[in-house]
Every structure is written in C-alpha cells, then in structure tokens.
C-alpha cells in the first residue's frame, strides 16, 4: 500500500473516530456491534429504562433457535442475532428480527465448517457478536465461518477461515467478535494452533493484512482507540496486551501483566487504555503511543482489585468499573487505580457491563439486572429479574434494552420502563 493511501486512510480513521466521539448528544443510537457504537459498552443515549420484570416493561420476548451468547446488534428497525444448534452446534443461524415486535424478518441457516469444543450450557458456536453498518451485516462463528449478508438476508460473500488456514483449537469456543472500522473488518483468531490477527475488505472478504501472533488461546475482542491521538488497535491475549497499527497490522508495543486466559475487552478514556484479566489477575492502565516493550515505561498503575475473568469493564467520567465473575462490582479511580467503592451484586456474572454516562447495567447469570448510578456515590437503583439465565451481554438502542437469555431475546421497552 503506498504511503499516500496510508496517510489518507489514517486521516479518514481519525475523522471517523472524531465523529464517533462527537455523537455524545443524547440522541438515539444504534448498537452496531460488540460493546456498542464506540466499542466501549457505553451509549450516548440518556433516557434509558431502569425497571422491568417478566410481566412488566417488556415489549416483546421471542424464542431463539439453538443456543448463542452473541449480543444482539441493532440498526434502526433491524435486530440481528446469531445462534447455533444441532450435533456439535454445527448448524449456524443468522436472524433478523423486527425491533417493533420481535417478528422474524429473515432466518438464514448455514453449515459450520469445523465445530470446536464449547462450554456446555454457556457457550456455543455463536458466541462472537455480529456487526453491521446498516446496509450489510457480518457474522463470525466459532466453526471458523464468516458471512456477509445484506440487510435483506442475501448472502454477499463468505469465508471459512479454517478451510483456508487451520482449524481452530479452542476448548470453550471462539469468542472474538469482528470489529468493523474504517472499511476494514478485523478479527482476532487466538487459539492453540497458529494465532493471528486479520483485516479484510468488508465488501469482498479479501485480506488487507494478516499478522501472526505468538499468543495462543484467548477469548477477547480487539478494541480501537485514539487515546493517544493516533489510532491504535488494542489486542489482549495470554499474559500480555499488544498495540497494533490498525492500517497495517504492525505491532507497535506490548505490555505484560495479563493472566494466561484473557477474556475481557479493553476500554479507554482520558488518555489511557485500560485492560483487565483473571481470575487472580490484574487491571492495568497503560499510556498509549508506546514502542516495543512498554511494561515498565507506560503502565501507569496496576491493581489486582476486582479483576474479572469474563465480563468486560467500562470507563465513565474518570472512573473504571469492573464486575467479577463472582458478583463483586468494583469502581477504581482511572488515574490512580485506587478503589472508590465495591458492592456485592448478583451471584455470578458472565455478561459485560454496559450503560450510559449516568446508568450502568450489570446482568447476572440468574437473569437479574442491577441498574446502578455512575459516580463515586453510586447507588443500586433497581434490580430487575427475568425468568431465565443470561450469559450474553445486552445491548441498548433507541431507549430500549435488549437482553438475551438462554432461550429468549427480550426487548425492554424504553418508553414503558422509564422511571
């Protein structure tokens, strides 16, 4: 790729990130992929529901086929969701629902190339979250299959990464979600075989770049940040986190300090990158823009307090919020890592925290959502129970909250559930 094109793409990427950052106007937003419009679990919307139950505040509840932990993604009237079923979960499902009433707009079924092991009852081949730009939707499955469909459900292209490279070896099933940024579709494929990071042209599926990684098995998703002014792709993995140039896939820096099993996705804020891992791991705050091994030079603080194994954290107004798998919610000062508060919420958590500048949603495995206010004086505003287990991270769009239980997808009606 010539230098001029690289510069142009870099300018475009910065513009895109600036535009994304500018959408903090409180207007309704889509939730186009893993962790929302900015990949950090936070929406700019302000009017969000805080109270519901099985019998109240639910606009619709629909049964989903098979099993899946992927987050439903929303664009305007479309709700896209994936699932898998059948022997070894080799039957893949890609659905579009109508957000008004949960009706099935289309339902496509595909075969998966190479199912892996998975966590019975908690995961399947449909753990990665799809991503959409409103005209197309991309879905990645743990079988190694990647599909691009238009919003009418027509197949545009597909790839089997395991037919092209090697089959995935992952005892809990692949979990990394595709990241769509600046006309690149980026996937992290960490497993016991040769791990790699790959960027594709989202319109054709053709490789733009592919970088092998030394790490083996992990379940995290790349995160794009411009915390340091330049765009950096933050990729967590075994024992360390790496920063890459998103345009070329070239590694820029590495910081050691994560555990062997890396699951949560990074976030950023106020000029810092935040990563965490567990169990028994630590959270780190890293200054961006480094070069080489930055463990000693760019890690601002490190603390073991409250580190989760699975749920991803959020960062809101100077505070870093975590929830451990065993139900302890922790708030740390973003600049110092010092604890601000801790609370015991539910019994166990797999879903990641999401929210807004004023409210955070913690959905536990029993299906109860604790809604907390943000800030150093955070309070539990409500606890809202659903009648089925939840392992999937919810999504927020146009005032509604979408919660995927083990069997059903719920739409919490933003209008009827406002306080």
């Amino acid at each position: 790729m010539c230098v001029c094109i690289r510069v142009l793409l870099r300018v475009q990427m910065i513009s895109l990130l600036m535009l994304a950052a500018a959408v903090s106007t409180g207007e309704a937003a889509d939730w186009p992929g893993w962790r929302g419009p900015q990949g950090n679990g936070i929406t700019s919307e302000k009017e969000l529901p805080t109270q519901w139950s099985e019998n109240k505040g639910i606009r619709w509840k629909v049964a989903l086929p098979g099993m899946g932990v992927s987050t439903p993604v929303i664009w305007n009237e479309y709700v896209f969701v994936t699932a898998s079923s059948g022997n070894k979960h080799g039957q893949l499902h890609f659905l579009c629902l109508d957000r008004k009433d949960g009706g099935v707009v289309w339902h496509r079924r595909f075969w998966g190339t190479s199912p892996t092991r998975y966590f019975q009852g908690r995961s399947s081949m449909a753990t990665p979250t799809p991503v959409t730009d409103g005209s197309m939707v991309w879905g990645f499955f743990g079988t190694g299959d990647l599909f691009c469909l238009d919003v009418k459900g027509n197949l545009l292209w597909s790839r089997s990464l395991v037919q092209e490279y090697e089959r995935f070896q992952n005892r809990f099933g692949m979990s990394s979600s595709p990241l769509l940024v600046n006309e690149m579709l980026i996937l992290q494929c960490d497993h016991w075989g040769q791990s790699y990071l790959i960027a594709m042209d989202p319109y054709s599926g053709k490789n733009l770049w592919k970088t092998n990684r030394k790490e083996n098995l992990s379940w995290t998703t790349p995160f794009l940040t411009r915390a340091g002014g330049e765009a950096e792709l933050i990729v967590c993995g075994n024992f360390q986190v790496r920063g890459y140039d998103p345009l070329t896939g070239t590694e820029q820096w590495v910081a050691r300090g994560l555990t062997q099993d890396s699951v949560p996705t990074a976030v950023s804020g106020d000029g810092l990158i935040f990563v965490t891992s567990g169990p028994g791991g630590a959270s780190l705050a890293i200054r961006p823009g480094g070069n080489g091994d930055v463990t000693e030079s760019h890690v601002l603080w490190r603390t073991p307090r409250g580190s989760p194994f699975v749920p991803s954290p959020v960062y809101v107004k100077g505070l870093f919020y975590l929830v451990s798998d065993k139900g302890i919610a922790t708030c740390l000062d973003g600049q110092t890592g010092k604890p601000v508060w801790q609370k015991r919420l539910g019994r166990a958590f797999t879903a990641s925290i999401i929210g807004s500048e004023t409210h955070l949603y913690y959905v536990d495995e029993d299906g109860t959502t604790s809604v907390l206010s943000t800030g150093p004086d955070s309070e539990v505003l409500s606890r809202n129970a659903l009648n089925e287990p939840v392992f999937s991270t919810p999504s927020i769009s146009n005032g509604d909250v979408f919660i995927r239980g083990i069997e059903h997808l719920y739409c919490v009606d933003g209008q009827s559930s406002l306080p």
Binding site: R108, W111, W157, E164, R171, S204
Partner: protein, 405 residues
C-alpha cells in the same frame, strides 16, 4: 415432413404449415430446455468455484440470483451440488435450496420431488449434513418418516447415533413395561452397533441390570495393560519436544533420573471401563512433565486398523519404533476418540509406546491439572479389534498394585 425439407421448395397446405410450426416450436422448446439445464449446471458450477478470501463471490451472487428464480425442478441439482466437502460453496447453494423449498412449500408441498429426495437421503455415500437437510424436508412432508427410517440405520455413518438413540428409547420403554426379553434384545443391538461413549455406556449398564453383563473394553478394543514410567521434567511446555530416554529405547530394566527422583518402568492394568490410565494417581501429581506408557499386543494377522485415543495433555505414539502420531494441544482433556490415526498392525507382536505430557499449572486455582490417557484399537467404523497382550515380565517389585497407588 421434416423441418428444412420441402416439396418443390414450398409448403403444400396450411396444415403442413401448422405442423411445421408445431415441430419447430417443440424443437426450439426442447433445445431451450437443454440450454436451460446447461445454464443451471453452469450457475451451480460458478458457485462451486468460489475460493479463498471471497474469490468468485460476485459471480456467485449473480448465479445465485438466477438459480433462486427457478423452481423445485432444480432442487435435486442443488443437492448434488451441495454434496461436497467444501462448506463455503455448499452454504451458497443451501441458501438457494432453502429459498426454493420455502417458496414451493407455500405454493404446493407436493411439488417437492419426494422420490428424488428419498433416494438421496438413503445414499450413505452422500455428505451427511446434506442428507440431514433432506431429512428435514421429508419430515416436513411426513412427520412420521424419521421414526420409520432412522431405527434401521444402525450402521449408517451419519445416522448411527440417531438410530441407537431410538433403540435405547424403545428398549427403555420395554424395560419399564417389564418386557425384559424384548428390552434385552434391543439393548444388545444398541450395544453391538453403538460407537458413542454415552450410548454404549447406557446400553451396557442396562444389560448389567438385566443380568446380561457385557464388556465395553472388548467391544471397543481398549488397551488396559501397560508399563508406565515418569514423571520426567519438562519446564513450561517443553516436554512435548524433548526426547526423553524411553523414546530412544524402551529398556524395561532401566532407571532414570526423573522430575521427582529416580523413575523406572512399573506394570499397571487399569480397571477403568474406558481404559483410562490416571497418571496423577499411578505416577504422581505434578506439572510440567512427561510420562510414557508401553505395551505389546499380538494379532493373528496383518491388520489395517485405527488407534483412537484421548490424552491430557497432548499425545505422541510410536508403533514398532516408528512415530505414527504427535499432537501438541495443551489443557484440552482426555476425551473419547479424540485422536484417530490409521495404522497397519502386523501379524504377531506389535510394540506401542505412548507419551503424555503435563502442562503448567492452571492460573485458576479451581481447576485441577489432570493427566491421563486412554487408547483403543479398532476398525474404521469404531468396532474394537481383538488382540492379546505379550508384555514381558521384569524384575520383582516393579508392579503397581492398589496399595501402592
């Protein structure tokens, strides 16, 4: 009159003209049908030509659009097109197949070509997933169809599991109705043909309950009798690539310096129903190590067979001093038939050496570091191969028994 041939260069009557017209029409129509079939074939081939990195997708989209405009007359062509190990092209064709089936079903389900579908389904050489797709359509037409057909498919490569599942349910119902003889017959049939761990265990347990004990070990061909040695020290994950002394030469009299002190070969016969040797119990709990298991089996004649194994962590196998298998995969657990390797066993004695590594300790303290191996010798369809042991005896005091574990 033949088109193109005229009496005196002119038509004799309007009737002849009409006949000529009809012939011409039929000829052109038949030609068009042939051309149409050729186009369907061409479109399917275009889709089957999609390659890596989405190559050919644009052409595939165009072909897909054309195919989707057709009707149930091309469904069999689509099935044949999907009958390929290439999942990518198969999924393209499936998207067309599903669309045409749904549309046809809405118009008139009887237009689905049932006999063609039935023949495709019954052909065990076809891709199993495509046969399952066909089954779903046939079951839509006739919900009783699977119940009539599946139970007879106990040796079918795709539907064996489903057939055995049906047998076990039937047997259970008979058992609950105190129809013991019929239950025994059904459980025995399930036991004979099952190749699934849970199904064969269920059948065996019920036969024991009914006073008809069977041997899973014999049925599946598990190796029970071994010599074991270890642990050898392997820091981190180095043990997989490190050559320890047993790999150079199996000397049952030898002693070596291991990870926890001196080690030597010890005789061990597992009592586990599925032949699992628990190396933590038999040798020692430890991390970052390797151990070996050695046995000698004899066969009456040369035999092409399979080794089917599970190991935690990873596995290497030597047969008659040649390495036939090596798989490095840490912390994945010993699972039934996880690894399969085709081997040729010779008439008489066959030496089998197995290496099982142990990785690093789990960072999650709730997870214990298991270390085990199981291995069986079977036919390609999973039925156990009969063999005898020919393990040499070594000096007194080298045999593990229950009190030593």
């Amino acid at each position: 009159m033949v088109p193109g041939q005229f009496d005196n260069g002119s038509f004799e009557s309007d009737y002849d003209m009409r006949k000529l017209g009809l012939v011409l029409l039929l000829t052109m129509g038949w030609g068009n049908l042939n051309a149409s079939d050729d186009r369907v074939t061409q479109w399917i081939e275009t889709i089957r030509s999609v390659g890596a990195q989405g190559r050919g997708s644009q052409e595939a989209r165009a072909a897909r659009t054309q195919l989707a405009g057709r009707g149930p007359e091309i469904l069999h062509d689509l099935l044949v097109g999907m009958d390929t190990p290439d999942i990518v092209s198969s999924n393209w064709l499936r998207s067309v197949f599903d669309e045409i089936v749904d549309r046809t079903w809405a118009q008139n389900p009887k237009l689905i070509p049932e006999q063609e579908f039935h023949d495709f389904f019954m052909d065990s050489r076809r891709e199993g997933r495509v046969r399952r797709l066909v089954l779903s359509v046939l079951a839509r037409r006739d919900p009783e169809f699977p119940g009539r057909i599946i139970p007879g498919l106990v040796e079918d490569p795709e539907f064996r599991f489903d057939a055995i599942d049906h047998l076990l349910k039937q047997a259970k119902r008979r058992q609950e109705n105190n129809e013991s003889e019929q239950a025994i017959t059904l459980f025995q049939r399930a036991f004979e043909f099952s190749r699934d761990e849970n199904q064969i265990r269920t059948a065996a347990d019920q036969l024991v309950n009914l006073g008809q004990p069977v041997s899973i070990v014999d049925q599946l061909g598990y190796i029970l009798d071994w010599y074991l040695i270890g642990p050898f020290h392997g820091p981190g994950t180095s043990s997989f690539g490190t050559v320890y002394p047993p790999e150079k030469n199996v000397d049952l009299q030898a002693r070596y310096m291991g990870k926890l002190g001196e080690v030597s070969w010890k005789r061990y016969r597992t009592k586990d129903t599925f032949g699992t040797v628990n190396l933590v119990d038999t040798l020692s709990p430890c991390d970052e190590a390797a151990a070996y298991a050695f046995t000698v089996v004899t066969l009456e004649k040369d035999h092409h067979a399979q080794f089917r194994c599970g190991a935690d962590d990873n596995l290497s196998i030597w047969l008659n001093d040649s390495k036939v298998f090596a798989k490095e995969e840490w912390k994945n657990g010993t699972r039934f038939d996880r690894f399969r390797v085709n081997v040729k066993l010779k008439k008489g004695r066959n030496r089998i050496l197995v290496k099982v590594c142990q990785g690093t300790k789990y960072s999650n303290p709730e997870l214990s570091n298991l270390w085990s191996v199981q291995m069986r010798i079977c036919e390609s369809d999973g039925k156990g191969v009969a063999f005898d042991y020919a393990l040499p005896e070594i000096r007194k005091g080298s045999q593990l028994n229950d009190s030593e574990r």
